[in-house]
Subunit: 210 residues, 2 copies
């Protein structure tokens, strides 16, 4: 299996965490988003949408991290990243979607490039834009983690949510967002960063990191 990603991409980072939690062995191929490698002929042949991650398996190429994570859960059931009961599964997926749909898409590289190029945004405006979506999102998530977490975001073991949360906190720091109002999330992060699956997935440890 080959994961085509980019060390700093939140979507690639969450996919690495899930692969590591499932104990799946994979190679990596770096796609440098800064130089437009996602629009190269070679990469577009893998993923015509030109976005990372793309997971190359024996059966073909899978794209879109939320779909890849569900595929991992179905194909490698242990350890589970979702609880057993449908209502609980829905709540875990909702907490993941809160990050995956309501926070992450608004501050990925192509959106920031658009704001810089066509809306005259400087770094302070970019940071403000990111904070506009991240802060209320992390506030809402905090309330849910306080209800459902016991060390991790849901219960006492890593789930789908943590695959999304840890990369989102990494991203928040890059936008200079003050995370001190989020001690509940920082406690989950501290636990995660000491876990081998999360440790090995960290952007700084990837072969394409600089």
């Amino acid at each position: 299996m080959i994961l085509h990603g980019y060390f700093r991409s939140g979507a690639a980072y969450r996919t690495r965490i899930a692969l590591n939690l499932k104990g799946v062995t994979y190679e990596q191929s770096g796609v440098d988003l800064r130089t437009g490698a996602q629009r190269s002929e070679a990469f577009l042949a893998l993923n015509p949408q030109g976005m990372v991650p793309a997971l190359e398996t024996d059966q073909g190429v899978l794209t879109q991290s939320p779909a890849i994570l569900e595929w991992l859960e179905e194909t490698y059931p242990e350890p589970p990243l979702l609880p057993k009961e449908p209502d609980d599964r829905a709540r875990v997926r909702a907490m993941a979607a809160l990050i995956g749909c309501d926070i992450h898409p608004l501050s990925n590289l192509r959106v920031l490039t658009e704001l810089r190029t066509n809306w005259g945004a400087d770094q302070a405006r970019i940071d403000g834009w990111a904070a506009r979506w991240m802060v209320p999102g992390l506030q809402a998530l905090t309330a849910l983690v306080e209800s459902h977490g016991r060390g991790w975001s849901w219960g006492a073991a890593p789930t789908l949510i943590d695959c999304y949360l840890i990369p989102q906190l990494y991203s928040a720091r890059r936008f200079n967002i003050d995370l001190t109002p989020f001690p509940t999330l920082l406690a989950v992060e501290a636990q995660a960063l000491a876990h081998p699956a999360f440790e090995a997935a960290h952007p700084d440890r990837q072969p394409d990191a600089d």
Copy 2:
């Protein structure tokens, strides 16, 4: 079951389609996003994130349409909205996520309000912003529907993808996006709009429509 939504919300619209496809009976409660009803005390008690849809069931409140759709698939398996094979399921989910993560979140009401309020955007700039994300997204989706669709977006029956696609095309028209370059998607839409589940879910037919 009570679906708390808003007639024009794409996320509520996709949830109505899925409920209708599954043959689930539900009541509706309108949350008028234009007047800020999503921030009322009553609604925040249901969904502290202050976003629609929220599906009130006997067991509690479910939020985030991607999670609600997966819950419906697990709780009401017939007719299926996902294929059986994990690889196919991943591809259907990826096509849904292409809309749910890469298109929809960038042009929902709160983002447009931010652009109008703090970035000086007029309607032409708003339309351009929406087109910036919708056009390449719909292009990528077209290639996938051409590979996998046989009347519908995937195969010969409605799936999860169609629940996302039809509201997205409705939204595209509101931003004056020219859809003539997307005949493959328009053919799926024509079929969908004649299907009772989609027909009944249309924004114009909701109790809170104006």
